[in-house]
């Protein structure tokens, strides 16, 4: 899979190959990163932009793709006052370059050799590292049962809607449950509302299946969901979390 040799991180140059809109104010950027050592599903990168006057800004973004040579995909949500995200989503175009450091983060990663069932719970852009896990699962031909619970504001803001539908159909063993917090599609059986203990029980795995749980999204979302999972009997060490900071 990926090179686990001891190595310190340095900055590399990434070139934008392609951009694709996602959701309402987000974008997937397909990057070429020469000599990319590969990455594990769930890892992230640090992105650094440098202006002509030398001013730099740096943020972390989860890798959305499965490892594929020198190609790395990020899905970035534009934040209202985000100086890096607004550049990546609104200005960057194919041919543009910036610096990238990674892959980083071995804690929040899924190991395809682990036969445990997997529960993925993503809030908003927290879906991104979980999507990397889903894509790797398919690339490896894994039969490990995956359940994804994805909380998003409304149908317009959802990332990868077509791909998720297709994978549920084709990947065998992937279940996806969507939770809409502000507005639901026409004909949706439930009114909008936040992810709660009942949905986690119905759409997740029983605690005695000892699933590997991955929870990612805004800090407040992760705090609530992680607490609900532990309260439902999941061992804390089986609940891995990645917090993106306060929702705005």
């Amino acid at each position: 899979m990926t090179d686990l040799a001891l190595r310190r991180l340095t900055w590399r140059v990434a070139t934008v190959l392609e951009v694709r809109p996602e959701g309402a104010e987000a974008r997937t950027l397909v990057l070429d990163v020469p000599d990319w050592p590969g990455h594990r599903p769930g890892q992230h990168v640090d992105v650094r932009l440098t202006a002509e006057d030398g001013y730099t800004a740096q943020r972390s973004y989860s890798i959305a793709s499965a490892a594929d040579g020198s190609t790395v995909e990020l899905t970035v949500q534009a934040l209202a006052d985000g100086e890096v995200s607004s550049y990546l989503v609104g200005i960057a175009e194919p041919g543009d370059r910036f610096e990238l450091r990674g892959p980083v983060g071995g804690y929040f990663t899924w190991d395809p050799e682990d036969p445990s069932p997997v529960l993925l719970v993503g809030g908003g852009s927290g879906l991104v590292p979980l999507m990397s896990m889903i894509r790797v699962r398919a690339a490896e031909g894994s039969r490990v049962p995956f359940r994804l619970i994805y909380s998003t504001r409304d149908p317009q803001t959802a990332f990868y809607p077509g791909e998720l539908l297709r994978r549920v159909r084709d990947d065998h063993g992937l279940d996806v449950t969507l939770v809409y917090t502000r507005a639901v599609p026409e004909g949706w059986p439930r009114p909008p509302g936040r992810l709660d203990a009942r949905t986690l029980t119905e759409a997740g795995w029983p605690a005695d299946f000892a699933p590997s749980c991955f929870v990612c999204g805004p800090t407040g979302f992760v705090e609530v969901v992680a607490n609900l999972l532990v309260a439902a009997g999941h061992a804390p060490q089986r609940v891995k979390t990645e917090r993106f900071g306060p929702s705005r």
């Binding site: 998003t152 936040r194 705090e223």
Partner: protein, 103 residues
């Protein structure tokens, strides 16, 4: 990166202005050759053992500050200068690193 309306956003945004030790992976990855997010440390304050990824991290700061998820005391601080970095680990008594199996 955050979605208003997502679970938990009723809590004040300022109270949720922290992330976790995954945020340290890049900065510490420039210093250590091994993945630090899975390293485990024991809090010098309350004795709780946590993985670095599980620590409470304040990143909007002149440096990165990781606090114990149990007692909130400072475990470690990382400051990155232009050509130097400082790592203060006085808040942990010992750190366990995962290394490739030599067998």
């Amino acid at each position: 990166m955050g979605m208003a309306g997502a679970t938990g956003s009723s809590r004040d945004s300022a109270d949720m202005a922290f992330v976790d030790g995954n945020e340290l992976a890049g900065a510490l990855g420039e210093i250590f050759a091994v993945d630090v997010t899975v390293a485990r440390g024991r809090c010098a304050g309350c004795g709780r053992e946590s993985a670095v990824a599980e620590t409470v991290v304040y990143s909007r700061s002149p440096g990165l500050v990781a606090r114990c998820p149990g007692c909130e005391s400072v475990l470690l601080r990382v400051v990155r200068g232009r050509d130097r970095a400082w790592l203060d680990l006085r808040g942990v008594t010992c750190v366990e690193f995962s290394l490739p199996d030599t067998e």
